[in-house]
Amino acid sequence: MDNNLSILVVDDELSVRDSLSNWFIEDGYTVDTAEDAKVALKKIEAYHFHIILIDIKLPGMDGLELNRRIKAINEDMIVIIMTAFASVDSAVEALKDGAYDYVCKPFDPDAITHIIRNASKSIQLSKENLSLQDRIKSLVNVDDIIGESEGILNVLEQVRVVAETDSTVIINGDSGTGKELIAKAIHMNSSRRFFPMVTVHCGAIAENLMESELFGHERGAFTGAQYARKGKFEMADGATLFLDEISTISMKMQIEILRVLETKKFARVGGNREFKSDFRVICATNRDLASMVKNGEFREDLFYRLNVFSIIIPPLRERVEDIKLLSEHFVKLYADQMNKGTRHIGKRAAKALQNYAFPGNVRELENLIERAIVIGSGDTVQLKDLPFQQNIDKPTWESIQDMEHHHIENILKKYDWNISQAAKALGVDRVTLYSKIKKYKIEKGN
């Protein structure tokens, strides 16, 4: 018996509600009751029941209509109709509307036991199915991560070491270096791999929504909270919680997160019920958190709580030897996706890629190759398919930083200082582009 299953019994007869409650409680299920459809709907909106037993004849809204309403709220809830012999036709109608099964009252003890056990198996199979689907989507094998430079091999070795532990990990690296990929690799090589990796893009969530996003909320917690909702901490029970761009969260939220990391307990917004969740935290940032601590921008206690194991992904310009392997990987990936015959990279194109600074790192390289596959023809990526061929034969800059500076300046001019378009062309996000503009003091008139 799955003790985690919850059952709602909806029947207007108190004796039936009491009898069934007692029967299911002895089996270890969590049971609640409702005397009519109105009360049942209120309870269903506030709490997720796995199985709902409904008497077909109820005062007010009948069992058939209640079944339809439940299916509209959540079609995954299993509805079992209880009926008298005289209304079997109605029960069949309920089956057509998505009910799982029906039983005729009074029923034999083994009949209801078997139906509930079958329903439990069905719920378990659905859970496993979803879990496997998520797992397949996020499959990342350490050996599948491309690179043979000392920098990336060092990172992969660290992934192997830390994956088996349950330690908190901070992944540090410039935008586009593949922090989420490394987080997935850690998750997929850990004992939590059979559960999904729950990702929170901290920088993309408005401050006022962050609390609800992480902790969930109860019905009516705030205007618009029509239904109770699980937060990311709750969803990550048994799994890995990936907090991307952790440096962007507010000081207030840092306190909240620290508390949950220490106790693994929390309450939903607007609720008093305490939830417990067993999750492992991996976080990522492109900023130096230690400096942020010194500057008072990041809490020291949270930093030390998170900084159990640190992985630094070197930028692509510091592992030039990986560019060739990554380029070939992306050529094959996108050629297959677009059903094109491109298989090679021409010598001049390869040289251009090798000499480029890649401020947007692997993400930028990937975008360049994808673009080249789209516009190119034949079986080889040519220099003309890449956006920077004019500079390849006559490099005029001494350092990689100079190269990055001038490239960003050229792209900004090309797109008439449209930051979104320029960032897209560079393969970086707008925040990164703004920080580069500030760093190199690039001005519109220059």
């Binding site: 018996m1 029947d11 007869e13 004796s15 039936v16 009491d18 009898s19 069934l20 007692n22 029967w23 409680i25 002895e26 089996d27 270890g28 209880m82 009252k105 009074p106 029923f107 034999d108 003890p109 083994d110 209801i112 036991t113």
Partner: protein, 176 residues
Amino acid sequence: MSLIKIIPLQFSAVEELEKMLSIISNRFKMETRLSSRPFDMNPYFNPVRSQYNANEIIQKLVTTAGDENKIVGITELDLFIPVLSYIFGQAYLGGSAALVSGHRLHNNRYGLAEDPQLYSDRLLKCLIHELGHAFGLKHCLKPGCVMVSTTYVEEIDQKSDIFCHICQEELAELTS
């Protein structure tokens, strides 16, 4: 005082119950006695179903409780609860009273030769099972444990009259 009382309610084979007292006492580490008290079963008869309402009987039994920790009624009459066609016994989890029926435990009810020993074994298992619920134990999945849920007499025969070690430990905690 830790005491279990077994009350026959229209149950004639009292000598069978006397044999079970020491076993039940041993299982629950509690003194177990047979006791009799006036109890009219007629108000709980349902003429449509020709059965007796177990929920109502238990509610009445609770009101007659004395100095004992748990009280368990035992009857030869056929029992039901409103939504189920029959039951072997009934108890509220952690409640003070339980009820067991021997009506459906006889072999001759199923077209087989009556087997007094088998009947007695089944009765003992049902008594311990329902008392287990009254002490707060839920159904167990461990094959053979007396707390395994059973809906057929054949299933009762497959389990023993003892608690598995997990239920035993839980019972010890519940009764400590």
